[in-house]
């Protein structure tokens, strides 16, 4: 694929140059030219008022029909399936049935003594499980897992392979994709195989002009949508010429299927050759504790306290809160200046700039310098007694109440979130 300029339509207005994030457009006299920075993202097509920019397909067709079915990497840690696995089985099931009635979803289960987890996979929708067991696979290692997985993919040829975008999935998937010389798309938040479903999604949730897409298009290539540029741009990625099509998917995004107790499926035991020599790293120990270990900048959830806590003891509650939600404690400058907490916890322009999935601002009014350091968070929750606090201007969810009354309730209800959500869907 490539971006081309239709020279006789280009007026040299340079509207395209303003929107090109890659600096891939040069002014060449009165026309523009595309340089090597181009990634064919298509932003310039939208911006051109004269239809002078086109996208061309270099489409050489390769027979990819030997590849069938959808696989999900059934990531387990210490004999427990990660919850993203069940979400991916649900999504894999939908994708498989959208491809054809004969297409199935399989879980690829790797570990040692983990066979019983196959039942969970069946109950949440897997048609079958490929099982690879070996004592060398007890703990995750890049070398061990990528070897047995690559060999299994070569042998059974799945069309699609999905991984949770966890610290393990994001370590394993690129290695496997590189060994298979196929494409991999990171951190997807939406997957579609049918063009009609993609159009439906795009019309409901995006600014994309779908008029150039044909809802009756019979192709079933995987359309992998993901955020880029810090969420400022969404891109849909395809992998047209190689198989399998591989994605890592952000945990929490896809929907589990309703559990069917006692559901059964096909078990395929995969033969493999793995020896100690294949594994070049040694896991010495695995230490569990979210607290203190993750830095603010890397944290996925941050619970921050401010002047509204009233005193230093207020951070006890914030610590309990962070511990419950697997988060890290942050603070506003006001709380640091008051001597309630160490500067290393400070979020903001003069502290750490953070970008977690959830930012809880508890008793923080929202000074400009604080907001500058946390506004990139995916979701901001503000809890403050003062309804006029500026923090509410940037909050996705605002709670005007006493934090000492609300936070204990959030802690108490935290583990029920799934049940509450399911109930809200039914109700």
């Amino acid at each position: 694929m490539a971006i081309q300029v239709v020279k006789n339509r280009c007026t040299g207005c340079r509207a395209c140059m303003k929107v090109c994030i890659f600096n891939a457009i040069d002014a060449d006299g009165k026309k523009i030219t595309i340089n090597e920075q181009c990634t064919a993202c298509g932003q310039c097509l939208v911006a051109c008022p004269f239809d002078a920019i086109e996208k061309t397909d270099s489409g050489e067709a390769v027979d990819l029909s030997a590849y069938k079915h959808v696989w999900v990497f059934a990531e387990q840690r210490e004999g427990k399936l990660m919850s993203v696995v069940l979400e991916l089985i649900g999504e894999g099931y939908r994708l498989a049935r959208d491809i054809s009635d004969e297409t199935k979803v399989y879980a690829l289960l790797i570990g040692n003594g983990v066979e019983a987890l196959a039942n969970d996979c069946y109950e949440y929708g897997a048609d079958g499980v490929y099982l690879i067991e070996n004592e060398l696979l007890k703990n995750y290692t890049t070398d061990g897992y990528s070897k047995v997985m690559t060999d299994a993919i070569r042998m059974y040829k799945p069309e699609i392979v999905l991984f949770g975008a966890t610290h393990i999935g994001r370590d394993l998937a690129p290695r496997v994709a590189a060994r298979l010389n196929t494409g991999l798309t990171a951190d997807c938040t939406k997957l579609d195989v049918k063009v009609s479903r993609y159009i439906e999604y795009a019309n409901d949730h995006t600014t994309l002009d779908t008029s150039s897409l044909d809802p009756n298009d019979p192709s079933t290539g995987l359309k992998q949508t993901r955020p880029a540029f810090g969420g400022n741009l969404m891109a849909t990625i395809v992998c047209p010429r190689t198989r399998p099509q591989m994605s890592t998917v952000r945990p929490g995004v896809m929907q589990k299927k309703e559990r069917v107790p006692g559901a059964a499926g096909e078990m395929i035991r995969v033969k493999h050759s793995l020896s100690k020599r294949d594994i070049r790293t040694e896991v010495v120990e695995i230490v569990k504790s979210a607290k203190e270990m993750v830095s603010l900048a890397d944290a996925e959830i941050i619970c921050s306290g401010g002047r509204g806590l009233g005193d230093a003891a207020g951070f006890k509650l914030i610590e309990q809160f962070a511990e419950k939600v697997g988060g890290v404690v942050g603070s506003s400058r006001a709380a640091v200046d008051a001597g309630w907490i160490d500067h290393s916890h400070q979020v903001g322009q003069t502290g750490t700039t953070v970008k977690p999935k959830i930012y809880f601002a508890c008793g923080i009014s929202g000074a400009i310098q604080h907001i500058a350091g946390m506004q990139g968070s995916d979701v901001i929750v503000a809890i403050n007694k003062d309804p006029d606090a500026p923090i509410f201007e940037v909050a996705d969810f605002g709670i005007v109440d006493d934090l000492y009354r609300v936070i204990p309730e959030i802690i108490a209800e935290w583990d029920n979130a799934g049940t509450l959500y399911d109930a809200s869907l039914k109700g």
Binding site: Q43, D143, D171, L184
Partner: protein
Amino acid sequence: MTFKIIVCAKQVPDTNEIKIDPVTKTLIREGVPSILNPDDANALEEALRLKEQYADTHVTVITMGPPQAKDMLIECLAMGADEAVLASDRALGGSDTWATSNALSAVIEKLGGYDLIFAGRQAIDGDTAQVGPQIAEKLGIPQVTYVQECKIDHEMKNITVKRALEDGYEVVKIKTPCMLTAIKGLNKPRYMSVRGIYESVKSDIKTWGAKELGLDADREVGLDASPTNVYRSFTPLPKGKGTTIKAESEKETAQKLLVGLKTRHVI
């Protein structure tokens, strides 16, 4: 023997500075500064710390990008790197992570010999975290990603790292040569020194194209060789004003909030 460290870096637009045009719904690129990718700064810092600890260590920073990526390499030299190489060529344009890792592996092989490779976990423009592991795969060396602590023994052979997990960390032993990818928690990157700035201006940055790297532009690098392509791109619907949660009791407020967080797929 000299201990050779290679640091893979990328020049990226500062995504915190990107704004969306409210009318056209497209990204406004003008005025967005280019910076050294933050995780890569941690990767370089760790290499420089090893250099301070052990004499006879040589740090080379490599990148792929347009000619202006040299500015970032000069910054790396001013921080203390010994050498910098830029892979730049029209033929490399539009490379996805697979093709990018082909190009950077070719640079590393052309440099001839290395003991340790550092990369940032991921770049803030793409957020893929794929290029580091894919370079390691192509070079046939082991990797540890998400490194939050790194210790090397006196023989410069055995490395013990802490690898961050979502709910803690694991301690992993690995031998050189290997690839380690750095996260922000690993260290605090230094600033450029005055002397470094003065010296970096004089230094000669090598620029290699596809031909010099022995890369096949049709099959190994560039847009057409890349297994993934952009099908469509668009801006997300603008964020509306947030929801204010009101309920009879605090318990109900908490419940409504949790349902809201679930709906947004963040828990």
